[in-house]
């Protein structure tokens, strides 16, 4: 920005005995005055206004609701009668509530409740990833309430978005699985 320093003819009249400040200095000085003065006006106008006044320092966090895009991936649907669900190479996750899980669940399944109100905590995803690694599972199978939208499918998509591979969800969720098991079919 050396161009700013180029003195203009009107900036330095030769007859002026006092050295005049450089153009750059004058621009900076004027800009500073404008910033300070307009800030003062802003703060003063806030102080004197009768309504819509705000404190200089906000005491509590603002209630902001910005939907952050969740890393959602694709999960493959799996039919409830698929024998892979009960194989030892599958890590089965029950996405329903604790009460529903206690009432009935697929043997050896892990209860990780899906929260509709917020994205999964990192630790929840880590828990699933650790369990998958520990069990030597080749796939993660999630089942939920089977509603529309299905909590199992949503969990599966989020897990897939968290870079967990081979994530499936059971179509129809727990009701469909329960029905199949009562009939004595596989699983």
């Amino acid at each position: 920005m050396s161009e700013v320093n180029v003195p203009m003819p009107e900036d330095a009249p030769p007859s002026d005995p006092k050295p005049r400040p450089s153009t750059t200095w004058r621009i900076l000085r004027d800009a500073t005055i404008v910033v300070v003065a307009s800030s003062a006006v802003g703060l003063t106008s806030n102080a004197v206004r009768s309504e819509r006044r705000i404190p200089w320092i906000q005491p509590d966090e603002y209630d902001i609701l910005v939907p952050c895009p969740e890393p959602v991936g694709e999960a493959t649907a799996m039919m409830p009668e698929d024998p892979l669900i009960l194989e030892s190479t599958s890590l089965v996750i029950d996405a329903r509530t604790e009460a529903e899980f206690k009432e009935w669940h697929v043997p050896n399944s892990l209860n990780v409740v899906f929260d509709w109100l917020g994205p999964p905590l990192d630790e929840e995803v880590t828990t699933v990833a650790k369990n998958a690694a520990k069990s030597g599972a080749q796939r993660v199978v999630v089942y939920g309430d089977g509603d529309d939208p299905d909590s199992g499918r949503e969990w599966a998509r989020l897990l897939s978005g968290a870079r967990i591979k081979n994530v499936f969800f059971v179509k129809g969720g727990a009701p469909a699985l329960q029905k199949r098991m009562k009939k004595g079919g596989s699983p």
Partner: protein, 158 residues
């Protein structure tokens, strides 16, 4: 370079740029001055400034926008106003880049509060638009050395 700086056409190009940028800044400040609380929420939504500075920013910046907008339009201390415009645009663009980096799905809040409109969603187009305004500000700062306007008129009369 001196020839380029001395070109008389800069007066008119600078005037056009000043009127445009001045209009943009004056029209952008209106809703922020009328309701600083809403603008403060808009600022907080960017998740860029610390909470303790959000309200002071929301109270002072719209008035800066108004003052520099008027200065550009009427031709008063034009280069100082252009310096502030450029500084503000750089600050806005950093905040915008931050919000885009976070992937925030939000509107800009530049000309209307985010609560009032879901349009004007931030994107790289917003960044491009702001870049144009930054370039215009820099153009005025560097090239508009004998700006047409009130100040020149007063100097000519005295």
């Amino acid at each position: 370079m001196k020839g380029l700086l001395d070109w008389r056409g800069h007066e008119w190009l600078g005037l056009a740029a000043r009127l445009y940028v001045g209009y943009v800044f004056v029209s952008a400040c209106y809703h922020k001055i009328m309701d600083p609380g809403v603008f403060a929420v808009d600022v907080a939504t960017y998740q860029f400034l610390p909470l303790s500075t959000v309200n002071v920013f929301a109270l002072t910046v719209p008035w800066m926008e108004l003052v520099v907008g008027v200065m550009l339009v009427v031709g008063l201390r034009v280069r100082a106003a252009a310096l502030i415009v450029s500084g503000l645009m750089v600050a806005f663009m950093i905040a915008l880049a931050w919000a885009l980096h976070l992937g925030l799905d939000m509107s800009c809040g530049c000309f209307a509060s985010q609560a009032a409109t879901e349009e004007d969603a931030i994107s790289w187009h917003t960044m491009l638009r702001d870049s144009v305004w930054l370039l215009l500000g820099l153009y005025i700062l560097v090239f508009d050395r004998r700006p047409l306007g009130v100040e020149r008129l007063i100097k000519q009369r005295s």
